[in-house]
Symmetry: C2
Subunit: 440 residues, 2 copies
């Protein structure tokens, strides 16, 4: 019997799946059964894209505008989006020949016969099982806090929705003020942030940790991700704590030091790229917002449910620059050399990201009547599929909504498909003479 | 007789010269004879740095605050700064072994014996002669317009000052409203923009044109510079014309189409990196300002009096990304291959630029009470040594002034010294095994 093969390359397949899911979502969310009051096609399209790309930007207030049916549609889109991205990213990771332990490689080689449908289905099943397990455990912990607060049914339902939303870094919430009501609550803070950090660090890192146990034995990628995630989160927490301490619209209004610390921690980890908030984003100080812009652009880990250009892309660019400044030719870290191809790819991902961001800002600065920082924040939040907003989303013009929708789509699928497009050797045979060009 | 050698590498020498000139300028501009009313040390330091780095940002109004003595000090600093940068840049260009015609190479080889004092002096003399010739010719043309307007003495003096300021891309003006009074005047527009375009395209391009005459025979660097300068200026003019046409604080207030076109042309070419203005910058539309931000960051040509990361740096990054997207390994253009080292260097220049810009924005967003766009515009204008401002310069806090001063200094000398630091082969002998890192 002949095996069936999908007649598309993986990137095209991914884009097709996302487009189909978004179209279905748009139609479902437009049904009378999904909303309390009818919403426009643009708004349901925006919401479906925001959910499927696990962004979390909202043009209508989720708990107010949608019925339970609508909310479940959103949760399903989030789960499909997060799962789709993770599956594809892990697939790339494997196809690029990354070592993740011989044992696992065998399992995956069995499970993933190139792009055969059977292989993909098995991989997705494994990831689905993993996601579901983590989400269920988190749901139980959240119930401990939320069932006493909200009653059995609502408590369980909220735990279920937020576990999915957090693990997939989606940032959708059933509270109109996101998690501001739980700013100082340890369980909410730990479980929600734990979920999106696990979801955001990347499946390969988790798998590496699971198999190797010892830090020393981890792959370079895992080591970098773990160290950098720690370093960036601690720095961000410190900066937010200091800058917002006296801001009476944010930390200043919290009575205890414990609350202030929890809030600083949460807003430090959420821009890459969870999108929940326990403080009012629009009230943050300008330097805090600017710092968040950078975090949102960098984003989470490769092979994760998070967005942005990815932490490793950022690290490779920094290393490439440092290497050049030291006058060396090859990037080395932890006794490993990083290939030139990765530098070019990282440069391409960051540059393309900036290109789309700049184009979107340019258009929105024409169509929207809003301060420049709000526009900047909105666009980068969409590109990084973060979902934080200074409040512009709800006020967007129709063109603005369409542009942001496109940026969410590009932000979610662009870096991944670029990462997939390995620089294959299509070079012409004729070698041109080298010629120097002065720079700087 | 033993030749005398300077015991510093060229970059260190350049930084030393700039520092000494700025200190001298600071002291001279602080003298009672230099100002109408005494200015603070910080203000004279800022002004001296702005003049020496040919930026043109001003904390005090040049014609109001300074006497003729003060203005002449500023003009001398501008000439020294422009000359210093051009000399150094051309020197690098030669040291990197760039071909600029055998004839000229021989002349330069004679004139420039590595870093011997004699060689440098000869090179500077040649450049000085060239600058002076261009400036004198321009001064005569400007006099035709300005002597009838201002009388003999003032007319000549204004022509002299603005010819120096324009050729060196300094942007200092003796009118409080820069050149807004001559918004539609063809002579002013042509001569001033002609000066800063000639000064900004780079000495090597001019020398190439002078010797080769035919476009086809020019070096790759010259071809790129000429084509890109045309393309970017025409695009910018079109964008400004369209976006500002109905803005009654800018183009909308001009009565004739001719005036509108001149103004669009002038504001299109001035952000890279002349810094004069014939329209009120603070009144421009947001998309126009955002577009200017990008132009200011890119800047002028290598080996010129202009600033920014440089047009070729930008082009190489764009080419590198396009090459990657096409799946090719080597950047080729016009049947020439561009070496990997140049890509790394361009990446380093752009990244370091962004690093300093982001740091400065972060600090200024703490110290200054101003809209974010104004801060962004001010910092990028300082980094690109452009000198355009939405009006923040005069309102800067003392810390703000010091930060902007540092950014002007870094913006002027940073890209050049980075361009100079060729990645020399200091690689360790041990070759580490390559390992892949997932990006995107
Ligand atoms: K998100
Ligand atoms: K300037």
């Amino acid at each position: 019997m002949k095996k069936q093969y999908v007649n598309l390359n993986p990137s095209q397949l991914l884009i097709l799946i996302f487009t189909l899911c978004i179209i279905s979502g748009t139609i479902l969310l437009r049904l009378p059964i999904a909303t309390t009051n009818s919403i426009t096609w643009v708004d349901s399209f925006f919401t479906a894209t925001s959910a499927m790309t696990v962004t979390g930007l909202i043009v209508v207030d989720t708990p107010v505008a949608f019925t339970v049916f609508g909310e479940v549609v959103i949760a399903i889109l989030i789960q499909l989006g997060g799962l789709g991205i993770m599956s594809f990213a892990v697939m790339i990771y494997i196809m690029l020949g990354r070592r993740i332990g011989i044992k696992e490689r065998l399992v995956i080689k069995q499970a993933l016969n190139q792009t055969s449908i059977g292989g993909i289905i098995k991989l997705v099943r494994n990831l689905f099982f993993f996601s579901l397990t983590v989400e269920l455990i988190a749901m139980l912990f959240l119930s401990i806090k939320w069932i006493p607060d909200l009653g059995w049914i609502k408590g369980l339902y909220y735990s279920f929705f937020h576990a999915i939303s957090a693990f997939n870094n989606a940032g959708f919430s059933l509270w109109s003020d996101s998690l501001m009501g739980y700013v100082g609550d340890p369980i909410t803070n730990i479980i929600i942030s734990g979920l999106f950090i696990i979801g955001g660090i990347g499946f390969t890192v988790l798998s590496d940790l699971w198999h190797k146990k010892k830090f020393r034995k981890l792959s370079l990628h895992s080591k970098l991700m773990i160290v950098a995630t720690f370093a960036i989160n601690i720095t961000a927490m410190f900066i937010i704590f200091v800058l917002e301490y006296n801001n009476y619209n944010t930390l200043g209004s919290l009575s205890t030091l414990s609350d202030k610390l929890w809030a600083s921690y949460f807003q430090a980890v959420t821009p890459r790229t969870a999108g929940f908030n326990t403080l009012d984003i629009g009230s943050l100080e300008e330097p805090t917002l600017f710092f968040m812009l950078i975090l949102m652009f960098i984003g989470a880990g490769s092979g994760s449910t998070g967005g942005g250009i990815k932490l490793t892309t950022f690290i490779i660019i920094v290393l490439a620059v440092l290497t050049f400044l030291k006058g060396k030719r090859e990037i080395t870290i932890a006794e490993r050399t990083i290939s030139q191809t990765y530098i070019l790819r990282s440069l391409a991902i960051a540059s393309m990201g900036m290109f789309f961001i700049f184009t979107a800002i340019f258009i929105l600065s024409i169509t929207e009547k809003a301060p420049f920082l709000n526009v900047l924040f909105e666009v980068i939040s969409a590109f990084g599929t973060v979902g934080l907003s200074m409040g512009l989303t709800a006020e967007l013009s129709i063109i603005g909504k369409i542009i942001i929708t496109l940026i969410m789509f590009i932000g979610k699928l662009g870096p991944l498909t670029l990462a997939f497009s390995l620089a294959s050797s299509k070079d012409k045979k004729i070698k041109y003479p080298q010629e120097e060009i002065l720079t700087g």
